[in-house]
């Protein structure tokens, strides 16, 4: 149990940060391609 707890923490920090930034970048890029009213 202790192993999976720490595994979740470490993955949340690193993979969490990576996925958050990917999503943020993706949103920005999609917004760029939308035509402005």
């Amino acid at each position: 149990m202790e192993t999976y707890f720490w595994m979740a923490i470490m993955l949340a920090i690193n993979w969490g940060g990576f996925i958050y930034l990917l999503v943020r970048t993706s949103r920005k890029e999609v917004a760029k391609t939308k035509p402005k009213p």
Binding site: T3, W6, M7, M10
Partner: protein, 488 residues
């Protein structure tokens, strides 16, 4: 600069930058370091290193490259002044000296991918003998070195959009998929829990040991490519509206995520399939190439589905090494382009140079190890030169004029504080500690310049390069053409 010499999209740049950062070190060094220096405690120290050393340096490099539109030699000349051109040349030379042997290492990965495809890793095969036979057959090591640098040259010859970007967009997502497949197989093996425990559960006592911090920071510096001049060079090919801070953080976190995946693929495999704990620990202590090309190669036949996982794993190694090699060779090519040469001619000259100057490492394995020992740590000095450049230009000016205007995530004053005060301390402590250990651990021989792993061989080879570059400073400053090309 033609528009074809720019990344077509932000994703293309990010793929190339991630490919640059994720190299063999993520796969064969990070898992060993994490396991040896306290598991989760090491991972936390490693994450801290991203914020105190690697990310600020990557952002500074990208700012210099995007502002000056030059590789490191011209970049330092235009950013710091002509008197400091030699610092950029140091960065390029250190990067190239690493490239000469990194191409040989990429060749090793190619060879093992071919072996895995041929089904060479069978139960009972002596993988130590297989590895030693390969290393002691120069025809083989030279052939695969030539193949690696030749393929890399082809990609760079085609230019940024058609070569570098296209290959990165293919290889980097594939690399992540391969690592996920290998990790999924490893953590579902019976007995994998012991390896996961070794990797993730923190041994807090290790944080009290300076070696843990030294290894975490150096691993982060080497792994993210901070201070290599690689991101500085790729930044030349980005739009002036490209977001520096978010891209660099994404590269840093992506690099760490790949390293964790590699750890999850390797350590549970070692622990689940080794006959006993002693053998597992001995595999973890067997060094980069020993772990990958001997221990893992020996364990794949014992793994259910190992015949499929082995080629996938070694192809991941090839992609990781190859995309980093492309970025390294591009640093050399860019230096010639800055001097007014065409891309094609520059590529041919640099590739032939890498092929010839990599031969000693391909033929004599101990020469490769010596070069890795000497120039790996020189990257810290390259990083320090970037810090000096930011200091001289003004850390707040870099932050407010170069990073923040196009940034989605704005850097606060803390960024200037880190690059002005924390990063230099990190550099002094890391290099000071490295040299101190080099002397204390080898008190009888540390002063011998011609021994392969001494402190003096490092100082001796650094001194030769420094003297040559300082003497050639004026020439170098004149060598780079006067006006940079305009980009959108």
């Amino acid at each position: 600069m033609s528009t074809k010499d720019q990344f077509l999209s932000r994703w293309g740049f990010l793929a190339a930058a991630l490919g640059m950062a994720i190299g063999t070190g993520n796969i064969w060094r990070f898992p060993r370091m994490a396991a040896q220096y306290g598991g989760g405690a090491f991972i936390l120290a490693y994450t801290l290193a991203l914020f105190l050393w690697s990310a600020p340096l990557l952002m500074s490099e990208m700012a210099i490259g995007r502002k000056t539109r030059r590789g490191p030699i011209g970049g330092f000349r235009d950013f710091l002044g002509r008197r400091h051109t030699w610092m950029g040349a140091w960065m390029v030379m250190v990067c190239m000296l690493i490239t000469f042997y990194y191409s040989v290492v990429t060749g090793y990965c190619l060879k093992y991918f071919v072996l895995a495809m041929q089904g060479a890793f069978k139960e009972g095969v002596d993988t130590t003998a297989l590895w030693n036979n390969f290393l002691s057959t120069p025809l083989q090591t030279v052939l695969f070195h030539a193949l690696a640098i030749g393929l890399c040259g082809l990609v760079i010859y085609k230019g940024i959009q058609s070569g570098v970007e296209r290959v990165a967009k293919l290889m980097v997502p594939a690399l992540f998929i391969f690592l996920i497949v290998a990790a999924a197989r490893a953590i579902t093996l019976a007995g994998a829990g012991a390896g996961l425990r070794y990797l993730f559960v923190p041994d807090w006592s290790k944080l009290g040991q300076p070696a843990t911090w030294l290894q975490a920071f150096t691993q982060s510096a080497w792994s993210t490519g901070a201070g290599w001049g690689l991101l500085l060079t790729y930044a030349i090919y980005t739009s002036k509206r490209e977001d520096i801070s978010q891209n660099c953080l994404l590269v840093g976190f992506g690099d760490q995520s790949a390293a964790l995946l590699a750890g999850m693929a390797i350590i549970p495999t070692i622990f689940a399939l080794s006959p006993n704990l002693e053998r597992a620990n001995s595999a973890m202590a067997s060094g980069n190439t020993g772990l990958t090309f001997i221990s893992l190669a020996q364990l794949f036949p014992k793994m259910p589905g190992g015949a499929i996982v082995a080629p996938i794993f070694f192809l991941a190694m090839v992609f990781a090494a190859f995309t980093s090699l492309i970025a390294m060779v591009e640093v050399g090519v860019r230096s010639f382009i800055d001097a007014g040469w065409g891309r094609k001619k520059s590529t041919v000259v640099v590739v032939i140079g890498c092929l010839l100057l990599g031969l000693p490492s391909a033929i004599i394995p101990s020469f490769l190890e010596n070069q890795d020992w000497v120039w790996g740590v020189a990257l810290l000095l390259s990083g320090f030169f970037v810090i000096l450049a930011v200091w001289k230009f003004g850390a707040d000016k870099v932050r407010t004029e170069l990073i923040n205007p196009s940034a989605d995530i704005k850097m606060g004053r803390w960024w200037s504080f880190i690059i002005k005060f924390i990063s230099p301390v990190v550099f002094l402590v890391l290099t000071g500690w490295w040299f101190y250990r080099g002397i204390v651990d080898n008190p009888k021989n540390w002063w011998k310049p011609f021994s392969p792993f001494t402190t003096m061989t490092v100082l001796f080879q650094w001194a030769i390069l420094l003297v040559v570059l300082l003497a050639a400073n004026r020439l170098l400053a004149r060598w780079v053409k006067a006006s940079p090309p305009e980009v959108d």
